[in-house]
């Protein structure tokens, strides 16, 4: 999983756009998280949640090149890597069809917290074994 590129599709609905006609900028953070949840596994995240363990976004950097519009099917391309024992970095790109440049690019740093909000060693989690 780590090192491979995941492909995940997001359809753009009315709810995603704003009155400027394109997708509201904050929504890309949602699309990238959908891709990460799919990448990490829904059942795995549910199981971790039962133990009080969850991922939290620590830093996010986004670059916007082009606006997506209603009806688009964005392809989200994601790769992940560990950054030390306690951090994980996802690189995400949102591609519109027939485009030769990503519409939006992001680097998202995650940490993993237990029930008492203490940092956990991400690389020790079962889901990466």
């Amino acid at each position: 999983m780590i090192g491979e590129t995941q492909h995940y599709q997001v359809r753009i609905f009315y709810e995603d756009t704003d009155h400027s006609g394109v997708v509201y900028h904050a929504n890309y953070l949602k699309y990238f998280e959908r891709a990460r949840e799919d990448y990490l596994g829904y059942q795995q995240l549910i199981d971790l949640g039962k133990e009080g363990i969850g991922f939290a976004v620590y830093k996010a950097e986004l670059s916007y090149n082009e606006g997506a519009v209603f009806g688009d099917v964005l392809q989200i391309r994601s790769t992940a890597q560990f950054d030390g024992d306690y951090r994980m970095i996802f690189h995400h790109e949102a591609w519109r069809e027939d485009s030769n440049k990503a519409a939006v690019i992001a680097d998202i740093q995650l940490v993993c917290l237990n029930r008492t909000k203490k940092l956990l060693k991400i690389s020790d989690l079962d889901i990466f074994k």
Copy 2:
């Protein structure tokens, strides 16, 4: 509180609109809930939450007459009444400025649930005493 009309204001931002140019229809349910949370009291809801008690929407009926746009300040007018011991009905209206008719009207039925999802007598709650 019960029987009186509460007035609550909601500013319309970019995030609230969709590419048709007006407020996305689902968002009015958010505005009405903001008004209810303000009506019931934030601290009161936090305190109930600590005991595992929360309100849940059981039925919602909305009528849309006019679309609000970016920059509008909607006035939300809300009244509440008990409907038996276990239900509460909020009537909400969203008014645009200088309008002679409510833009959106809603009746929202709430129930109150404890930690085990059992119905509680709403009229017995301390916040209504």
Copy 3:
């Protein structure tokens, strides 16, 4: 199309839930609209939009029976019918897996407006021919 039941799937992500642990009530209006957009056709809605024609929600009635949670795949079952020449009613049900009752049920009335917000005869639209 009219009269048939459409099946549409919605995955529940972190973004869909609130701190009570279940899906935020307003989001079902989004899921039902996603299903309607899929039902009516994205390209058809884009083409109508270019002519300044769009659908607008006129009335919405929702009944909530059960809360969906993170990781759920809701099956949205939708049927549509005309109600006179100017209105269309969608009946939507959101089903959780392995459930014997719909989690949320809704009736959504739509009208169709042109660029000057005048009502159009829905049954005359090309997409229904």
Copy 4:
């Protein structure tokens, strides 16, 4: 206006949280945009919109230190500066009450586009004169 710190308040409602119990990370981009819209002026943005002129987020960098919860009143502190003729940078901080560190910090770069998506000189806009 440029150089001064704007103070803007955001109340945290149920809609803002997710099932982890704290505010969903993407929502801070909304709060910061609300502050920017308030800063730039709603009527000014409406007037620019009528000429087909609008601001677009070009880059966003966010650091998350602490999660806000239901009932919080976040104080958003914003400052703006020009970065050359075509870019504007907003620095935003979201502060929880009684905290000695900002919960979330962001730098947001904006460009200004006309109807044909051509870059405009931001510093030439009437709203900055």
